[in-house]
């Protein structure tokens, strides 16, 4: 059946669109983008007053299946993604077993076909068992459908292994996604090292634990002549290192999370373990640098690092609590509230950071909202205001520090390959 998105403002900078237009979709593809389309046989979605965007991609998500289906499954995680306005998610390989074999990647893709609500893009492991020692069969991972490789959750401590991973992955056109952390500097840490770690008596993780590894990986990318993507950049120093590397022409990209560009380490003050995340929440100066980096394009991508954990893993002593917070259902709203409404990003730039940016890094064919293209579209109501209620999340987990916070910007429809994966108000 045809689907007609009627009366929305199409914001698609790559196709030069920022005007009120109708979008007609049939058989998975965009059939027409025009003023006042009439299609009697189409299901019509009145999206007047809303923004019609190229489908958003969250390139850093933990779906936890296989292994921790009590935290999240491919089904629940992708439903959360659809509700959050994402047409695709890249899922990290630190599952149990990890995605370090072709079989594991094929399992995820098969489960995604059976139960998924949005497209799932598996990220394969850099090293066998995420052990940091021996390269995984990266060619096999690629053949199975992996879009990138990463040992996310852990750094690759051995510089030689990281170098070879970059060289080897470049044969398949895949980026290496770096979780940049010097584990000797961060060992035992729970929060950002600074005034709040001192005041709260919690062991700190210095900015340098991230920055030394960002610097190392930039040098290795230069040496390997290969593509590097730095995950969850959290410090002003990292942004500056990446900015300079880009000026030198090194093939580095990076992402920032909504929690890192919204919250500071002061949020830890009440020992709420939902604020415990790796890398940790940093200072106001770092938040400012991330916002600047997002504005000037040093930071290519906004990604959530959606990391579901059960209440049992969080309702414990702060130092014992698991790292990570969920983000699929708050990411877009935080970007709208914290970046678009204050004028740091235009809606067009938001599309770059949340759609074209990740698509380019992951090597997706992503032509945007043009006739003939696969119809991957997010409809956003940028003015819709709501209070975050974790109890209503589609995610199996509730570990967010944003509960009770008033945000602006709600996905009202998510179109995945022409299919309505989510539409507001429908059950």
């Amino acid at each position: 059946m045809k689907l007609l998105l009627k009366g929305g403002r199409v914001v698609d900078p790559r196709n030069g669109l920022n005007e009120t237009m109708d979008v007609l979709i049939e058989e998975g593809k965009v059939l027409a983008v025009d003023i006042a389309i009439d299609a009697e046989d189409a299901r019509v979605l009145d999206v007047s007053g809303k923004a019609v965007l190229p489908g958003l991609i969250d390139m850093h998500v933990h779906l936890r299946e296989p292994g921790r289906e009590d935290e999240e499954t491919i089904e629940t995680g992708t439903l959360a993604a659809a509700r959050g306005g994402f047409v695709a998610v890249a899922c990290m390989p630190n599952t149990d077993p990890p995605l370090d074999t072709g079989a594991a990647v094929r399992f995820v893709l098969s489960r995604a076909r059976e139960t998924g609500h949005v497209r799932v893009l598996p990220v394969g492991a850099i090293t066998k068992g995420l052990g940091g020692a021996e390269l995984a069969e990266i060619g096999e991972l690629r053949r199975a459908g992996a879009v990138a490789i990463s040992d996310d959750g852990r750094a690759v401590p051995n510089s030689r292994v990281m170098r070879h991973a970059m060289e080897y992955a470049s044969m398949f056109g895949m980026p290496v996604i770096s979780h940049a952390e010097d584990v000797e500097l961060s060992a035992g840490g729970a929060v950002n090292e600074g005034y709040w770690s001192t005041r709260l008596g919690l062991p700190g993780i210095p900015s340098a634990a991230e920055e030394t590894m960002v610097a190392r990986d930039i040098f290795l990318a230069e040496l390997a002549g290969a593509r590097l993507h730095i995950a969850h950049v959290s410090t002003a120093g990292s942004v500056e290192l990446i900015r300079r590397a880009k000026e030198k022409g090194i093939l580095v990209t990076c992402e920032a999370t909504p929690h890192h560009f919204t919250l500071t380490d002061e949020a830890v003050a009440g020992y709420d373990t939902n604020t415990k995340v790796n890398p940790p929440l940093r200072t106001a100066r770092d938040v400012e640098a991330l916002r600047q980096g997002l504005a000037d394009g040093t930071i290519d991508v906004i990604a959530s690092d959606h990391a579901p954990h059960t209440a049992e893993e969080k309702e414990v002593e702060y130092e014992l609590a698991a790292f990570g917070m969920i983000g699929l259902e708050t990411s877009l709203a935080l970007a709208v509230t914290e970046l678009v409404r204050p004028g740091i990003l235009t809606l067009g730039q938001l599309v770059e950071r949340m759609s074209y940016g990740p698509a380019r890094i992951l090597g997706l064919d992503w032509p945007g909202i043009v006739p003939g293209a696969e119809a991957n579209i997010t409809v956003l109501d940028p003015d819709a205001s709501f209070v975050v209620d974790p109890a209503g999340f589609a995610s199996l987990s509730r570990n967010t520090p944003f509960g009770g916070r008033r945000l602006f910007g709600k996905a009202v429809a998510t179109v995945v390959a022409g299919r309505l994966a989510y539409v507001a108000g429908a059950s």
Binding site: Y195, T198, L200, G201, L202, Y271, V316, Y318, E319
Partner: protein, 313 residues
């Protein structure tokens, strides 16, 4: 004026007036020491549980005596450090203690914020007896009490805290209390044991002990955890002692009448010599006595007691 909160989690969370109320209340409590029968009926029928996840002799005994002298029923639970790592759930333990009728839970835990978790879980009053490197409020209260008793005031005094500031909950609680009561605080120790941005808590920082001692009215010497040396935070006990040990020679250069405190147990000959610890300048044993009085005051006020004058004779 009673305390505003049901718990005592740290001096960070108290107003100056509340700290002074506790210190004022501890004065008549200390008077009980001179009595033949050390017993007040205040907490009769109340149950106090000492939940200690770290070994402690003096703090636990001090709380135990404070509870008993106020007629509470007191139980001690010593839980080894390893059981936390094995996954014993603190919330579950707290609920169990409440189900057993605990009115007061006194908790010592190796992790910062553990008492806050317990306080959020139960209706009982939770007293922090030391949480990781965060706070040890009753230790700071007894230090404040001792300073006030010896020197007559706190406002305007220069207080130097020497040692492993980074890992010290005693230092943090002392800083909160002293700064709120108007003292000038300097922290001193090797650079590797000074936590970042501690000056924002309102203190001066120096790594030079001579400078830190020069015009101090009070010197609070912290216990050095000897295992820190193995983590590479300082090269040897010998060098630490050489740079930061409080010796007779160093005390002789201090102002006359300088007051020396140590929370105990001391590594004699490391951070302080026995000669200094046992000298008239030091108040190590008074601190222990005052600790019971201060803890009685805290229990009294948390149980709803009002002005010090109302304490039954």
């Amino acid at each position: 004026m009673p305390l505003r909160q049901k718990d005592l989690l740290g001096l960070e969370y108290l107003e100056r007036e509340e700290i002074e109320l506790i210190l004022d209340t501890a004065v008549p409590m200390k008077e009980i020491f001179t009595r033949d029968i050390k017993k007040l009926p205040t907490l009769r029928g109340k149950t106090m549980v000492n939940l200690f996840y770290e070994p402690s002799t003096r703090t636990r005994t001090s709380f135990e005596l404070a509870g008993k002298w106020m007629s509470a029923d007191v139980t001690n639970i010593a839980t080894s450090t390893s059981s936390v790592v094995k996954g014993e759930n603190l919330k579950d333990t707290a609920r169990t203690l409440e189900a057993l009728g605990a009115n007061f839970i006194v908790i010592r835990h190796q992790m910062a914020g553990a008492p806050h978790l317990v306080a959020r879980t139960v209706k009982a009053s939770v007293i922090n007896a030391g949480d990781g490197r965060h706070e040890h409020p009753t230790q700071a209260l007894l230090d404040l009490f001792t300073i006030r008793e010896r020197l007559g005031r706190i406002e305007g005094l220069k207080v130097t805290i020497v040692g492993d500031i980074l890992h010290s909950r005693v230092a943090r609680s002392n800083i909160w209390g002293l700064v709120k009561l108007g003292a000038h605080v300097t922290v001193c120790g090797p650079r590797t044991l000074i936590p970042p941005e501690i000056s924002r808590m309102g203190v001066e920082v120096t790594c030079d002990l001579g400078e830190a001692l020069a015009d101090a009215d009070v010197v609070n010497v912290l216990r050095l955890q000897l295992e820190r040396q193995r983590k590479g935070l300082f090269p040897s006990i010998r060098e630490y002692s050489d740079l930061y040990g409080l010796t007779r020679e160093r005390v002789d250069k201090c102002k006359p009448g300088v007051l020396i405190l140590h929370p105990g147990p001391a590594n004699l000959g490391v951070e302080i010599t026995e000669e200094v610890a046992e000298s008239p300048s030091a108040a190590v044993h008074e601190q222990v006595t005052n600790g019971v009085a201060c803890r009685m005051a805290v229990l009294y006020l948390l149980s709803g007691g009002g002005k010090p004058g109302e304490i039954a004779a």
